[in-house]
């Protein structure tokens, strides 16, 4: 057995540039050595991850990604791949030392990398959480196919997406969500599983039966599975090439499992005491670097050449280290930049702006039609107009296709625009949002529908990562997506369909959040979001979708309402009332019970929120009531109240008060529900109490 494998390996594969492979494997190894023996002890690298043992398979894969449009979704042990795809040695060394420049300008861990590129393969921005690389990679693959088949960009033909993961990651939701997306849609996506047998200290048999994901997925539909020893140069080269060829044919996804040793701890802090001594010995014998040497010397590379290569790599890495050490520390004054887009500075990859798409200018003046329509129709018409105007807009989510959405906001859109542009997704919110992020990288404008606010819970990881993406990559990448999310109470409530919890998205970083209260604002804010450069939560309040109070004339297909501009619904000088969404109608009715003039402000958007308008009103009235449907503790009312106290303490003639749902979920029984929602009577009482204070 051993003899035959050896014989087979002796026929050196001629389709790879083996000297380049050797040089890259040595380079990665040399960087690991320097970090482990010098930079960690010197305290220059605080969070160290080696790729020791994984290098050969990754370098071989990288050599096969050579086209514009090829993309890799990677993770923290992917440095050999990144070096192969074009990350400079200097960047690779400077990142872990958190120096300026590079892939995050000192903001992220040095092995959480990215590589924005247009003229060759790129690396999608990594995340620190295991498994979150999968669904954005699926989104990139679907986006690329969309660009080829719908936008007819011929250059995209044959470009593939590869997503790398360890054996631990095959247990994550992200892996399964992406696997379902790729197999059901037949996407050109290669799952590249580097199985080193351990997720930190947890053995692979706890992640998938017998620790063998490829065997377990043998019978999975629409998926080709391959296995290879990732330390055997001949076998790895052949099998990896085979898997790439399969995916390049655009006939569906494939998965390849490469068995590799992890010749180091999970990170610099991990001493591997959980591995039996015998295993450590066996792993050393499976080191791919000596195996590569045996494979190449002397047939392809002479002994002297190998030694010279080693010396050259050592010298090159040494010089790069000097340059990396000479890089300045990042400038603290810039640390707040790029949480949101900045005018005139598009990200290098991601979003319409970076893709060079020019959108019509629009108008901030409404051009109202004669008749009123409800908010639901206004949202549908806005989506329809933007789908028509911008071929890069895609609308998707659960039941948005033939059914037209459970709230009917996408009724008829699939019929009009086709199944590629308006489509149903698998039932995985993680997949909906992660895929949207990948599509945004691809230069599209994804509009994802989360069926009810509460069902965004499984997507929390991707919502959080999407929000911080531009900041984490120091504006190299961005993922402007629009997430439509119906929520709030309706005729009755319940803990699943009536959640609002908008404060969650305001505490999350990097999101713009719109809470429109009527049909006109909904059209203007949704259109602004669809033409904007930042991820946006567009909250569609269920009680407002067909409410008579929220009906307005459709403001026209050009109408844009900028974020951060509140509207004064009623003017007054005795009390300022700040609210948003469905509570506004109740506030207005309450104010009409009083003789005193109450000023009611509709914030319209909560991120950003119009602090100036609220402050100016408070300076006039000296009293403020904030009414919201989200629960009281740490609701957005608390933020507004704290801001006002800081900015206008000496203008306060009464305590700022909040009215909100008490700290319980929304109940199903109508009587119970009305007992906890701020009522017209309750708001009236509170207003009077403040005016009489």
């Amino acid at each position: 057995m051993k003899a035959s494998a050896s014989t087979e390996s002796r026929k050196v594969d001629t389709l790879f540039d083996w000297k380049r492979v050797a040089r890259l494997v040595m380079t990665s190894r040399r960087i690991d050595d320097l970090e482990e023996t010098r930079l960690v002890p010197e305290g220059r690298v605080l969070y160290q991850f080696s790729a020791r043992g994984h290098e050969l398979a990754q370098v071989l894969l990288g050599c096969l990604l050579d086209r514009p449009g090829d993309a890799a979704g990677a993770y923290y042990r992917s440095r050999p791949l990144l070096l192969t795809l074009g990350v400079s040695v200097q960047d690779a060394l400077a990142g872990p030392m958190a120096r300026s420049g590079g892939y995050s300008d000192g903001r992220d861990i040095g092995v959480v990398c990215n590589l924005p590129r247009r003229d060759g393969p790129l690396v999608l921005p990594m995340s620190g959480d295991v498994g979150s690389q999968y669904t954005p990679a699926a989104g990139w693959a679907q986006g690329l196919r969309y660009r080829r088949e719908v936008l007819e960009e011929k250059a995209c033909q044959g470009a593939i997406t590869v997503v790398l993961g360890g054996d631990g990651s095959v247990a994550t939701n992200g892996f399964w969500s992406a696997l379902n997306i790729a197999t059901t849609l037949g996407l050109p996506l290669l799952f590249f599983i580097e199985d080193n047998g351990y997720g930190i200290s947890v053995p692979g048999a706890l992640q998938t039966p017998d620790g063998d994901i490829a065997s377990n997925l043998e019978s999975f539909g629409n998926l080709r599975c391959l296995q290879a020893d990732g330390t055997d140069p001949g076998e790895a080269a052949r099998k990896i090439r085979e898997s790439v060829r399969l995916v390049r044919s655009w006939k569906g996804p494939a998965l390849i499992r490469l068995q590799v040793p992890r010749l180091c701890g999970h990170s610099g802090q991990d001493t591997q005491t959980y591995k039996p001594p015998q295993l450590l010995e066996d792993e050393k014998r499976r080191d791919p670097l000596p195996r590569l040497r045996d494979y190449l010397v002397p047939e392809v590379v002479s002994r002297q050449e190998w030694s010279r290569l080693e010396t050259e790599v050592e010298q090159e890495v040494g010089e790069a280290l000097e340059q990396a050490l000479a890089r300045p520390q990042p400038e603290p004054s810039t640390v707040r930049r790029f949480l949101f887009s900045e005018a005139g500075e598009p990200a290098r990859v991601g979003g319409l702006e970076a893709a060079g798409v020019e959108l019509p200018e629009g108008s901030t003046e409404p051009a109202p039609e004669p008749a009123r329509i409800n908010m639901l129709t206004s949202i549908r018409r806005t989506l329809e107009a933007e789908l028509e105007r911008n071929p890069r807009v895609l609308v998707f989510g659960e039941d948005v296709g033939p059914k037209g959405g459970v709230h009917a906001a996408t009724m008829g859109l699939q019929k009009k625009f086709g199944v590629e542009r308006v489509f149903d997704t698998s039932l995985s919110e993680e997949g909906i949002i992660g895929r949207a992020v990948g599509m945004a990288f691809c230069g599209l404008m994804p509009v994802a529908e989360i069926q009810f606010r509460k069902y965004a819970d499984p997507a929390t990881e991707h919502l959080n990562n999407c929000g911080t993406l531009r900041w984490r990559t120091a504006n190299r990448f961005a993922a402007p997506i629009v997430v439509r999310m119906p929520g709030g109470f309706f005729k009755c409530g319940d803990p699943w369909h009536s959640v609002s919890s908008e404060a969650t998205f305001l505490h999350a970083l990097g999101w713009r959040v719109a809470m429109p209260s009527n049909a006109e604002d909904a059209a203007g804010l949704l259109r602004s979001a669809l033409r904007g450069s930042d991820p946006t939560i567009f909250f569609e309040h269920r009680a407002l979708l067909d409410a008579a109070w929220a009906r307005r004339p459709y403001p026209g297909d050009d109408y844009l309402l900028p974020f951060g501009k509140a509207r004064i619904l009623e003017s007054g000088d005795r009390l300022t009332v700040v609210s948003w969404g469905a509570m506004l109608e109740r506030c207005q009715q309450a104010a009409r019970q009083l003789d005193d003039a109450v000023e009611i402000i509709d914030l319209r958007t909560l991120s950003p929120w119009d602090r100036e308008t609220v402050l100016a009103s408070l300076r006039k009235t000296k009293r403020c009531l904030i009414v919201h449907e989200d629960t009281l503790t740490a609701g957005f009312g608390a933020e507004i109240s704290a801001t006002l106290i800081e900015a206008a303490f000496f203008d306060l003639d009464a305590p700022i008060q909040r009215m909100a749902v008490p700290n319980v979920p929304i109940p199903h029984n109508v009587g119970l529900m009305e007992a906890i929602l701020p009522s017209v009577e309750g708001i009236t009482r509170q207003m009077r109490d403040l005016i009489e204070f």
Partner: protein, 412 residues
């Protein structure tokens, strides 16, 4: 056995260097109440009242009018308790548990009855800016709380006739005319005169004085005053030019804070608060310089009303010692007695003093786009005299520029 309490000269009430006994307000043997005024002490600049330290009777006066006194010195003795009523002397009745219960029950039964005396931040600021006493304002909020609206209502409503300011008492006429030719009349120095003499001499010895002179156009201020004096008058506050000078000086001190300072051996102490002293002439007696504290945080009404209060009490000799302390800058409006330009001496240990000359109509040449023209404008020379150790002419000019702009661009 009778108990006695000593009447002592306070340690913290010496403004200047010399204090003498003015007069006793009670005679020995008279009953006295704790806190009521017992005797007056004349310091260099003010009359300080010494309150009675205990109730009882004045047993003994240990100092006589004209006697110099030192801080901590014993002035007299009070015999405690002899003049108070028997009831007050008797032991307090212990409060029984039952009585306490009743009290707390009453409290909890009628909490709304106790008036709300606390002031909100908005009300505090409005009172401070306008130098208003909350006691004058009727509260319409819950439990009689003064609301912001109550303050604005008070400021815009018609005042009650009763609050018309009484005519200030006529100043005592100065000493009769000069003596016959050839004869010299020696008028003894008052402590105030002596203190002024000492201080002025000290000032020229301490600071190298340098004076810069600018000219200010009062047109804007005059127009503003015409528009607002009636409104201020309704509130019982006289709107004087001095109020404008204090306000403009405060603005200039905020703009050029180095002037609001004091020379120190280690460095220049620059103050955050503009505590502006205003020299108030008391005829032949001399002058006093009461201080308007934190003038930078007062609006014109606040300054005018504070100024009126201080001026009134200065003329009545009723300023408190603390009202003369803590100044960081001084204004002398010497123009009111006719002078055009003066170079006043610095009020030590401050760094600068502003002198404002008489406002009079003068011809000036204006340069306009269609050539030069001659116009008539109300002008005054304003001077800033600085301690040249601390400041230079450049800073003085910058300050004067800012001051003049504040006046000319009024109400900015």
């Amino acid at each position: 056995m009778a108990q006695y309490v000593e009447v002592l000269m306070p340690l913290d009430q010496q403004e200047g260097t010399e204090s003498v006994v003015g007069q006793w307000l009670k005679e020995a043997g008279q009953p006295v109440q704790e806190h009521e005024p017992l005797l007056e002490i004349n310091t260099d600049k003010v009359v300080v009242e010494i309150p009675c330290p205990a109730s009882g009777s004045l047993a003994e006066c240990l100092v006589q009018p004209g006697d110099p006194v030192q801080p901590g010195q014993q002035l007299g003795r009070i015999r405690v308790g002899s003049a108070v009523t028997k009831e007050a002397e008797s032991e307090p009745v212990p409060v029984t548990a039952a009585a306490r219960a009743t009290v707390s029950a009453q409290e909890s039964a009628a909490p709304a009855a106790s008036p709300e005396l606390r002031l909100s931040p908005a009300v505090r600021r409005a009172l401070k800016e306008n130098a208003l006493d909350p006691a004058l304002i009727e509260g319409t909020g819950r439990r009689g709380r003064i609301t912001y609206q109550d303050v604005t209502r008070y400021l815009t409503a018609e005042p009650q006739a009763a609050r018309q300011a009484a005519e200030p008492p006529a100043l005592a006429a100065g000493p009769a005319g000069s003596g016959a030719p050839g004869r010299v009349q020696v008028r003894p120095h008052t402590p105030m005169r002596k203190a002024i003499a000492q201080h002025m001499l000290e000032s020229v010895r301490t600071s190298p004085h340098v004076t810069a002179i600018f000219e200010a156009d009062f047109s804007a201020v005059m127009a503003d005053r015409e528009g607002r004096r009636a409104l201020f008058e309704k509130r019982g506050v006289k709107l004087t030019y001095t109020a404008y000078l204090v306000s403009a000086a405060a603005q200039a001190l905020v703009a050029v804070p180095e002037v609001n300072s004091q020379w120190g051996d280690l460095g220049l102490k620059i103050f955050a608060d503009c505590n502006i002293g205003v020299a108030i002439g008391l005829g032949e007696q001399g002058l006093v310089v009461p201080v308007i504290r934190q003038a930078q945080s007062l609006n014109l009404f606040g300054i005018a009303s504070r100024l009126q209060e201080l001026t009134g009490r200065a003329r009545e000799g009723k300023l408190e010692a603390t009202e003369l302390e803590g100044g960081t800058f001084t204004i002398t409006n010497h123009g009111v007695s006719g002078s055009l330009i003066a170079t006043p001496l610095i009020h030590q240990p401050q760094s600068a003093i502003l002198g404002v000359g008489k406002v009079e109509k003068r011809l000036i040449v204006l340069e306009g786009p269609s050539g030069d023209s001659i116009v008539i404008r109300p002008l005054a020379y304003v001077t800033l005299t600085i301690d040249h150790r601390a400041l230079d002419g450049f800073t003085a000019n910058r300050w004067l520029q800012s001051f003049v702009e504040a006046l000319q661009d009024w109400p900015n």
